[in-house]
C-alpha cells in the first residue's frame, strides 16, 4: 500500500461507503416497491401528501434533512426513544444511523422510477391477468413486477449512486468517525481540511469516474430494456 497516493483510512472509507450503499439500496427496494405500487394505483386522498413527503428529500437541503433525522434519532426523538426502549441504544453517530439517514435521503430516487414504471404499465396487463385467474398478489409478482423491470433497475442504480454521493446528511448525523461513519465524501472533506490535496484529488477523481460510469451504464441498461419492452 506504500505506493498508493491515498492511505488506509481512505480504503476504509471506500469499503464503508460501498457497504452503506449496498445496504441502503437493498432496504430501499423492499420499502420503495410496495410504496411505489400504492402511489401508482391508489385514488386515496392521502396520495398527494404521501407523494410530496416521499419527494421532500429531493428538494430539502441535506443539512435540514440531516438535522431533523439527527433530532429524531437522538435521545429526545421518537425513534431514539424507541431504539433505546428496544435496547438497541441511540442510532445517531453510528452506522445504523447513517443507514437510516441514507434510506430517507435516497427514498425519492428509488420510489419515483418504480412508480413511473408501474404507471406506464397501466391497468390493462393486470386486468388480463385477472381474467386468466391470477389473484392480485400473483398478478403483482408475475406480471407487474417483471414488466416494471426497467424502473427497478433505474431505482437500484440511482439509489446506490446517490448514497455513495451523499455528504450533507452523513455529516449531520454520522459525525465523521473513522472506521464507523466516515465515508468517501466525508473523507475527501477531511483531506481538504488537512490540506492533503493529492489524496483529495485521487479520491474525488475516483468519485467522478464512478458517477460517470453509473450514468453511462444506466443509459445502456435503458436502451437494452427498451428493446425488450417497447
Amino acid at each position: 500500500m506504500h505506493d498508493w497516493p491515498i492511505g488506509p483510512e481512505a480504503w476504509q472509507a471506500i469499503g464503508l461507503t460501498l457497504q452503506l450503499a449496498a445496504m441502503t439500496t437493498l432496504t430501499l427496494l423492499v420499502i420503495a416497491t410496495p410504496l411505489a405500487w400504492w402511489l401508482s394505483q391508489t385514488q386515496s386522498r392521502w396520495r398527494a401528501p404521501i407523494a410530496a413527503l416521499v419527494t421532500l428529500p429531493l428538494v430539502l437541503p441535506p443539512t435540514v434533512l440531516g438535522f431533523y433525522i439527527l433530532v429524531l434519532l437522538g435521545p429526545q426523538g421518537w425513534v431514539g426513544m424507541l431504539t433505546e426502549w428496544l435496547g438497541i441504544g441511540l442510532l445517531s453517530f453510528s452506522f445504523g444511523g447513517l443507514l437510516t439517514g441514507s434510506i430517507i435521503a435516497s427514498l425519492p430516487f428509488a420510489v419515483q422510477p418504480i412508480q413511473y414504471a408501474f404507471e406506464a404499465i397501466g391497468k390493462r396487463p393486470l386486468e388480463v391477468a385477472a381474467t386468466l385467474r391470477a389473484r392480485p398478489l400473483d398478478a403483482f409478482f408475475n406480471v407487474a413486477l417483471p414488466l416494471a423491470r426497467p424502473g427497478l433497475l433505474t431505482a437500484t442504480v440511482l439509489s446506490f449512486a446517490h448514497t455513495v454521493g451523499e455528504f450533507g446528511v452523513v455529516l449531520m448525523i454520522g459525525g465523521n468517525i473513522p472506521g464507523q461513519t466516515r465515508v468517501v465524501s466525508t473523507q475527501i472533506f477531511g483531506y481538504v481540511e488537512a490540506m492533503e490535496y493529492t489524496a483529495a484529488h485521487w479520491l474525488a477523481g475516483a468519485m467522478v469516474v464512478f458517477s460517470f460510469g453509473v450514468l453511462i451504464s444506466l443509459s445502456f441498461l435503458k436502451k437494452r430494456s427498451d428493446r425488450v419492452m417497447p
Binding site: R124, P125, E127, V128, A129, A130, T131, L132, R133, A134, R135, P136, D138, A139, N142, V143, P146, L147, R149, V228, M229, P230
Partner: protein
C-alpha cells in the same frame, strides 16, 4: 369445416350455461341499464355506436367493472347485489379478449398461452390448449416473442390463451378494432372457424356490420346505455327499425346450402328452399351451409316479372311491412321469402307508383350477394 365441431368440447356441455344479466351502472352523463337473458350457445353480438355501453356490459360480466344488479351464468351467481354476492374477476370462469393486443410482453407465446392454464386446475387443460392452438393455427409461433407477431397473430394467441382456461363463456371486446383492413380480413375466417367449433356462449362486442353478419347468431342493439332491439340475427336484421338505425349498412342474412358450381362462368349456386341464388364462385363443398349477406341498398322490387335485365338473382316474395327510413325520401320494405326475410331500401316515390303495401307479391331483384360459411 363442420367436422371440427366439438374440438373444444370437454366443456361441461351438459350444463346449460345461459347468461342472465340485470345491470345498472351510473357514470357522469351516462347510465347503463340492461336486462338480458342470452342463449346458452352461439355468438351474441353486442352491437351499437361507440359510447352505447357495449364494452361496459362486457366488463361488468367479467367483474372488471361493478354496477348494481345480477350476473348469472347457468345456476352460478357471479354477482347478485341483492344478496351481496360478488366474485372477483380471477374467480370467474371466463375468457376475455381485449380490443388491443394484450399479450404479456415479457413472456414468449408459449408462456403466454400457459399463463391461464397453469392457474386453472383441470385435467383436460393441456388438451384444451392443444385444440385451441390447432384451431387458431398458431403452432408455429410458440417460441416467438409477442413483439415479433403481427396484430392478427397476437389476437389469435390471445384468443387461444383465453380458451386454454376452458371458460364457461368467452367475451370478445372488438377483437378486430385495432387491426387494419388487411389483418381484419385475415383474422375473420379464424373467428368463423372458432364460431363453428365452440360449444360455449360467446359475447362479442363490435360496431362493424361485417363482423355482425358473419359471426352473430343473436344480436343485441345498444343505444345510450340501453338495449334497443334484441333477438336472433335474421329477425333483428330484417327489423326495419334496426335497418334504419344502421343506415347504409342495412341488410339481411339468408341461410342456404351450396347446390352446384358453374366453372364456365365462375359462379356458385346456393339453394334457398327451392329458389336459387348465384354468387361468385367459392371453394366450398356442395352441401355446405352458408350465409348470404344482402345489403338493403342492393335489393330492388318489381310488381311484374322483370325481363331482359342484367340482374341474375330474382326471387318471388310478399311484402310484409313498409317502414320509415332515417331519410324521408326512402322507405324500408321487408319482404318474406318462404320462411326468411329480406329488406329493400326503395324510394317513397317507388312505393307510391308501384302501389306497394303489405301482402302485395313482388319480384325481388338482388344486385350483389356476399357469402360466408356457416
Amino acid at each position: 369445416m363442420s367436422e371440427q365441431s366439438g374440438v373444444i368440447a370437454p366443456l361441461r356441455s351438459t350444463m346449460k350455461q345461459n347468461l342472465a344479466l340485470k345491470l345498472q351502472l351510473d357514470r357522469k352523463d351516462f347510465r347503463l341499464q340492461v336486462d338480458l337473458s342470452l342463449p346458452a350457445t352461439g355468438v351474441t353480438v353486442l352491437f351499437g355506436p361507440s359510447g352505447s355501453g357495449k364494452t361496459t356490459v362486457l366488463r361488468c360480466v367479467a367483474g372488471l367493472e361493478r354496477g348494481r344488479g345480477r350476473v348469472l351464468i347457468g345456476d352460478e351467481a357471479w354477482q347478485d347485489s341483492d344478496r351481496g354476492a360478488w366474485l372477483p374477476t380471477w374467480a370467474r370462469d371466463l375468457g376475455y379478449v381485449f380490443q388491443e393486443a394484450s399479450l404479456f410482453e415479457h413472456m414468449d407465446v408459449q408462456a403466454n398461452l400457459r399463463f391461464g392454464l397453469q392457474r386453472t386446475k383441470t385435467a383436460s387443460g393441456q388438451q384444451a390448449l392443444d385444440a385451441a392452438v390447432e384451431m387458431l393455427g398458431i403452432g408455429h409461433l410458440l417460441k416467438r416473442k409477442p413483439q415479433s407477431l403481427s396484430g392478427g397473430e397476437r389476437q389469435r394467441v390471445a384468443i387461444a390463451r383465453a380458451l386454454a382456461t376452458q371458460p364457461r363463456i368467452l367475451l370478445l371486446d372488438e377483437p378486430l378494432a385495432s387491426l387494419d383492413v388487411v389483418r381484419r380480413q385475415e383474422l375473420l375466417p379464424w373467428l368463423e372457424r372458432m364460431h363453428l367449433a365452440l360449444q360455449i356462449p360467446v359475447l362479442y362486442v363490435t360496431h362493424s356490420m361485417e363482423e355482425l353478419t358473419r359471426l352473430a347468431d343473436h344480436v343485441v342493439l345498444m343505444e345510450g346505455g340501453q338495449v334497443r332491439i334484441e333477438g336472433p340475427v335474421s329477425q333483428v336484421l330484417s327489423d326495419p327499425q334496426f335497418a334504419a338505425a344502421v343506415g347504409g349498412e342495412a341488410g339481411t342474412v339468408l341461410t342456404g346450402i351450396i347446390k352446384s358450381h358453374d366453372d364456365a362462368f365462375h359462379l356458385t349456386c346456393v339453394d334457398l328452399h327451392g329458389s336459387e341464388i348465384w354468387v361468385r364462385k367459392r371453394d366450398a363443398r356442395i352441401g355446405t351451409v352458408v350465409r348470404l349477406h344482402i345489403h338493403a341498398n342492393d335489393v330492388s322490387l318489381a310488381t311484374s316479372e322483370p325481363r331482359d335485365t342484367s340482374i341474375q338473382n330474382i326471387l318471388r316474395g310478399v311484402v310484409d311491412v313498409i317502414d320509415d327510413d332515417s331519410h324521408p325520401a326512402s322507405c324500408l320494405v321487408r319482404i318474406r321469402h318462404v320462411d326468411q326475410c329480406l329488406i329493400a331500401r326503395v324510394t317513397r316515390k317507388a312505393v307510391a307508383s308501384l302501389k306497394l303495401e303489405a301482402q302485395v307479391s313482388v319480384w325481388v331483384q338482388i344486385k350483389s350477394v356476399a357469402l360466408s360459411e356457416r
